[in-house]
């Protein structure tokens, strides 16, 4: 494997990140640098990148590997162009995240931690994404898709496959986690 190198614009970014930390504590920059490297590598963090970054920060490779394996958001294996992170924690599960996974199985033929043959999709079941009011939630790369059901999720997958743009956020058109349709509140006055 060839050694990992930050791209030109990222080298400048690395320099900027390192200024956030005292020079004798630069090991603290390990998380932002890993994240940067993961973005540069298309959503995953190769061992070569860990080696390069740990060397840059003056820590041993194994310390970097410990960090990379501790945080689940670092992918140590290549992922597809679209990384489908289906929330499987209780609120999403009660609202149908199991069905969403079944859609992946039916439509894309992939189970948890698998990638489609064309390298377009990777499915990961993740823990709570913190958007329970909009359950079930799927994070695709950096963006949340909320209030999904089988049909809307399938549509999103088809759109992504076709290269069409998909609007992030609630598929029901909710703004954030505001009440659905009009100004109803959970406990309307006088009801």
């Amino acid at each position: 494997m060839t050694a990992f190198k930050f791209s030109k614009e990222n080298v400048a970014r690395v320099k900027e990140i390192l200024t956030h930390y005292p020079s004798d504590r630069k090991a603290s920059a390990i998380l932002p640098l890993f994240e940067l490297a993961q973005r540069q590598c298309g959503g995953w963090l190769p061992m070569e990148a860990i080696k390069t970054i740990t060397e840059m920060l003056g820590v041993s490779v194994i310390r970097g590997y410990e960090v990379a394996t501790f945080y689940t958001m670092f992918n140590l294996k290549p992922v597809g162009k679209y990384h489908l992170q289906v929330c499987g924690t209780i609120p999403c599960m009660l609202r149908g995240s199991e069905q969403l996974k079944r859609v992946c199985k039916r439509h894309l033929g992939i189970e948890n931690k698998e990638t489609t043959k064309d390298g377009l999709f990777t499915l990961s079941e993740v823990e709570c994404l913190g958007a329970c009011t909009n359950a079930p939630v799927v994070q695709i790369n950096d963006v949340y898709y909320e209030d999904l059901d089988e049909k809307s999720f399938l549509q999103i997958l088809k759109d992504l496959e076709a290269g069409r743009e998909v609007k992030p956020g609630s598929v029901l058109g909710r703004q954030g986690s505001a009440p659905y349709k009009g100004k109803r509140r959970a406990h309307a006055k006088g009801k």
Binding site: M47, S60, I62
Partner: protein, 684 residues
């Protein structure tokens, strides 16, 4: 100093102590897993919970500093409950395979569970399964048993200085692992087996060989290098089952090197268990002691006393050295030498061949200059001390000599002996740091001294020491790193060429040609044997190695585990090794062989009992009177004038795992060479 009360006992302890250490002072036991006195504090096992006044929750005593007026309880119901809880959690995933676990009988988890644990587990689901790791030819892993105390992780990054092991993953999925499957490349890796509180890391060579309660323990001293580590030889019947370190804070703390620990299987192979004599047909034939002695006596009768030479090997005890010296003196031979590799050492004052700073003294140094020394291979425990000082005080280490990773940052000045001249003249860029250092030390490796210009280098080293204040009233920073366990004893006993005597090189040059007709090799295997073909060679030793292959008479002696003996380490510390097993077959203790031979030759040496030979040692050098005691050597001039040879330095040891007749016959060491050294080469 704060006063604290632990279990109604009031004690006064230094401020930087933890509650756990204070309790230890007070004689109160607190169970621990992750805490280790020589490692940093992790505080992750929670076994050491105690109750402290004004604290609503139990407190981890290993990480809690003492403070004035603290009242600690270690035996309240709260503490008991906490301990039970911790143990129940630890045992959730720990397999109950003690009957087939090598750690059984000496396992912290087993002992502590017996003492503090509950009697049942409420966990009835499946235990987690963790794949075993490949840690090389020395360490067997059973990762299911791991309780994630991270002692091994801390050991490898702190003591060994080779951070290769880490805790990967998180929570339930946390594993102790290397980042790729690779052998651990540390000379101290075996210590991980000792510090592992459970059976996750066990000794591979000792795997399923024995139980701890079947073994007899003999405290002894290691002879694989000149550090003289305190070891415990564990034996079952006549067999050495394993070797473990003993604590000696002056020398090895609680660690020993892998060679000291694992080369013991070499004691089982290729042993000389009866005398041999080379017959007319050119082969060695087994004979009785009487016949072997007669053969020697016949030969010596035809030869003039000063045509006999004697060379002492690297693992010989002081008793045998003095007996051989006395025998040679009575024969009238001045051709004695204990320096197989011929360093320009030994003739000078005592300070010129000792590690004067002492091993514990390394911790006080603030600057270290290595000259052709590779402490990692020549004395792994000295290297560990240097690293300890580097971690504690950021010791600056500079090196003149070949480049070799030592486990701490080293400023390499290049491999050019002429740098010494520049430093003496004050013309090198390192001189300002040398001047600034308050307690500088230098370590002179054997690689520098066994060259032709070794004496000149010694002189330069002394000039540097004098110029830059290496030697002060209470500080001596001049150190020679010996690599042979018998060398300092040989020097102290004067096993060196006498008047008109020849050294090893001369003996070899003249052997069989000019006036060296008989050569007596006492465990000497590290010399070039080719020139000895024509001489009459008597080999006395424990292994059928290089020396025995050219010998005309072979006398079977004892290895270090089979005899009581005194050894002097590189600091000049006299230490006593004890007999753990009887020697194989007809082999005898070395000084007794020499005594018997002297009787046969009619030169009867004047000692018969161990006490008498000890008295003789003291007579030759009063240093041998006191065991385990250091006497500082007086600073006197040494070395010789001359010009330095610009030829680059070479290290004394090229292959750490095979340096002597025992380790060369060890299968474990052969595996280390195969796997570890080849892997290091790949990485280079």
């Amino acid at each position: 100093m704060p006063k604290i009360v632990i279990d109604d006992k009031e004690i006064e302890v230094p401020e930087d102590m933890t509650v756990l250490q204070a309790a230890e002072e007070a004689g109160i036991e607190i169970p621990v897993f992750c805490y280790h006195p020589k490692l940093s504090i992790a505080g992750n096992c929670r076994m050491c919970l105690v109750e402290v006044n004004n604290s609503p929750k139990p407190v981890a005593s290993c990480a809690m500093p003492v403070c004035e007026g603290m009242v600690v309880h270690t035996n309240t119901p709260m503490v008991e409950k906490a301990r039970k809880g911790v143990l129940e959690f630890l045992l959730i995933n720990h397999p109950l395979d003690c009957p087939i676990c090598d750690q059984g009988g000496e396992c912290d988890l087993q002992d502590i569970t017996m003492a503090y644990g509950g009697d049942i587990s409420r966990f009835d689901l499946n235990k987690r399964a963790v794949p075993d790791k490949e840690f090389g030819p020395l360490i067997e892993t059973a990762m299911n048993r791991c309780i994630q105390c991270t002692r091994c992780v801390r050991f490898s990054s702190e003591i060994a200085g080779i951070p290769e092991i880490g805790a990967t993953g998180r929570g339930e999925n946390m594993e102790i692992s290397t980042y790729i499957q690779r052998t651990i490349t540390s000379e101290l890796s075996g210590n991980m087996i000792d510090i592992c509180p459970v059976g996750a890391l066990t000794s591979k060579p000792y795997n399923f060989k024995g139980r701890s309660w079947e073994l007899s323990h003999t405290p002894s001293v290691d002879v694989f290098d000149a550090v003289g580590c305190a070891i415990r030889i564990d034996t079952r019947g006549r067999e050495v089952m394993r070797i473990l370190p003993r604590q000696n804070d002056e020398v090895n703390e609680t660690w020993i090197s892998d060679k000291s620990r694992f080369a013991y299987d070499g004691l089982k192979y290729q042993r000389l268990d009866r005398p041999y004599v080379r017959g007319e047909d050119g082969y060695l034939h087994p004979v009785t002691w009487e016949e072997a002695f007669s053969r020697i006596a016949d030969k010596l009768q035809q030869v003039r006393g000063n045509h006999v030479a004697a060379i002492v090997g690297d693992m010989v005890d002081a008793e045998a050295i003095v007996a051989l010296k006395d025998l040679m003196t009575s024969l009238g031979s001045p051709h004695l030498d204990c320096r197989q590799d011929s360093p320009c050492l030994g003739e000078g004052p005592r300070c010129s061949y000792l590690f004067n700073t002492t091993i514990a003294g390394i911790e006080d140094a603030d600057f270290c200059l290595l000259i052709a020394a590779n402490p990692r291979w020549e004395a792994p425990l000295i290297n560990a001390r240097i690293r300890k000082n580097y971690l504690a005080n950021a010791l600056r280490v500079t090196s003149i000599g070949p480049s070799h990773p030592l486990g701490y940052p080293v400023k390499e000045l290049g491999n050019d002996p002429l740098i010494l001249d520049q430093i003496v003249k004050g013309k090198h860029r390192i001189c300002s740091s040398l001047r600034a250092a308050k307690r500088p030390m230098m370590i002179l490796g054997q690689g520098a001294l066994r060259r032709k210009d070794g004496g000149v280098i010694l002189k330069r080293a002394q000039q540097i020491a004098d110029t830059y204040g290496f030697v002060q009233r209470t500080w001596n920073g001049f150190n020679v790193l010996q690599t042979a366990a018998s060398r300092v004893a040989g020097f102290d006993l004067g096993f060196l060429p006498g008047r008109k005597g020849y050294g090893v090189k001369e003996i070899l040059k003249r052997a069989g040609k000019k006036n060296i007709e008989v050569v007596y090799l006492l465990g000497a295997d590290e010399i070039d044997m080719k020139p000895l073909d024509k001489a009459f060679v008597i080999y006395q030793g424990h292994h059928g190695d290089r020396g025995a292959s050219v010998a005309d008479v072979v006398l079977p002696g004892c290895a270090y585990t089979e005899k009581d003996g005194l050894y002097v380490n590189t600091e000049g510390r006299v230490q006593k090794g004890l007999k753990a097993t009887p020697p194989p077959g007809e082999a005898k203790e070395d000084w007794k062989i020499l005594k018997a031979l002297s009787d046969k030759l009619g030169l009867a040496l004047p000692y018969r009992t161990p006490a008498e030979i000890r008295a003789r040692l003291v007579e030759v050098n009063p240093l041998f009177d006191e065991v385990d005691c250091l006497q500082p050597a007086r600073w006197e001039p040494f070395g010789e004038d001359g010009k330095l040879d610009p030829e680059p330095f070479e290290f004394a040891i090229q292959n750490f795992y095979m340096t002597d007749s025992i380790s060369r016959h060890s299968i474990t060491m052969a595996k280390c060479v195969q796997q570890i050294l080849s892997q290091e080469k790949e990485n280079d």
